[in-house]
Subunit: 217 residues, 2 copies
Amino acid sequence: MTTVRILLADDHVLVRAGIRSLLQQISGVEVVAEANNGREALHLVKEQRPNVVLMDIAMKDLNGIETTSRITKEFQDVHVIILSMHANEEYVLQALRAGAKGYLLKDAVFPELEFAIKAVSRGETYLSPPVSQHVIDAYRQHGFDGKGPVEQLSSRQREVLQLIAEGHTTKEIALLLNVKTKTVESHRTQLMERLGIHDVAGLVRFAIRMGIVSPEN
Amino acid sequence: MTTVRILLADDHVLVRAGIRSLLQQISGVEVVAEANNGREALHLVKEQRPNVVLMDIAMKDLNGIETTSRITKEFQDVHVIILSMHANEEYVLQALRAGAKGYLLKDAVFPELEFAIKAVSRGETYLSPPVSQHVIDAYRQHGFDGKGPVEQLSSRQREVLQLIAEGHTTKEIALLLNVKTKTVESHRTQLMERLGIHDVAGLVRFAIRMGIVSPEN
DNA sequence: TTCCATTTTCGGGAATTTTCCTATTGCAAA
DNA sequence: TTTGCAATAGGAAAATTCCCGAAAATGGAA
């Protein structure tokens, strides 16, 4: 059995170093790279082709859900485990729709980490117990067909939404994404149209409700 | 020089285990106990009398600030370092008022952790660089007399802030308040100046943090 | 492969908002 | 009474948003 190659993505250096330190105690796994945010994670996935990505859900710039969605679309053999503080139902469902194979709470016990990594690296799914309960509840209520309001947006639109809600100006966003200001303006008007929200304040509140950004920061 | 006895308080088992694992790489420090929440931390402080407490700020049940405040009141020789995700100004000030000796961001680099522990165990203070900037800013503005950022605003300014965060346009606000648009613009620029927040998205997130508006609605 | 829907990308010009600077009035504290 | 701050507001310049349109790329479906 070969070693599992892992990419760690979390924007808190201390937490990342901690998790890494934990992973070193597990045999058969190896951390091949660390990413500070979603954008960096995407790049490193391309470069390193890890088997498993351990991804924090709340990252600035490009959050964990969005990043997961892009990774799973392009690399079917890269399995993502979401690391989250909360068992929030909305988060969990979004994560699963984005193609995450695991959802682990940060107050999970240590053995769960190893178990989850081994499971998803075999292509199986692992959810922390309190999480799976939520999934089952949601399934009983409306199946998995229901697309949340966030999924109405294209991936680019979600990305722009996050950056807007983080307080970046249109110009800054254009720079970050390497496109013209006009393009970003377009994205904004189009995503506003879709959501039926026509002011920045509303966008920010929506993004917070959806867990796309946090009120802190 | 004796070893520094440390108590770890964080309600996320994984993070805690990670930090512990990091601390084991530092010579001269020893983790003598781990607490799952503030209440447990209080109990363990009494029992173990650690030199330093590494405390997460966001814990359920009894949060880090409140716990710190109780610890420092009763045990002057127990030094608390707050571990926080955010350099949020009001968190920092609250922590300092509660008697914390250190404030470390979770995206601090690893050496900072060692440095901070050594410093506070000698009775000194350590703040992550971005944090100390905030403290200095706050001090320059209004000393440590202990007014929260919300109280810095006049009541009119708070009123305008709320309306902005609720998504009203400047014109609408002017109508609501029976004043000219220009006046509302003035209020906005002035309150932005005071808060040091210069974009609407930031205002909305601030207002949500302060409980002035809710993400719903 | 061809075609259609969608996404992503931009531009021009009008309309609106924000920013910056300045200023008056009233009120309360020193 | 002088000082300071809150609340009010105007003018001009700068920046952003809005409203049109549209081309290129992508991704499936037929």
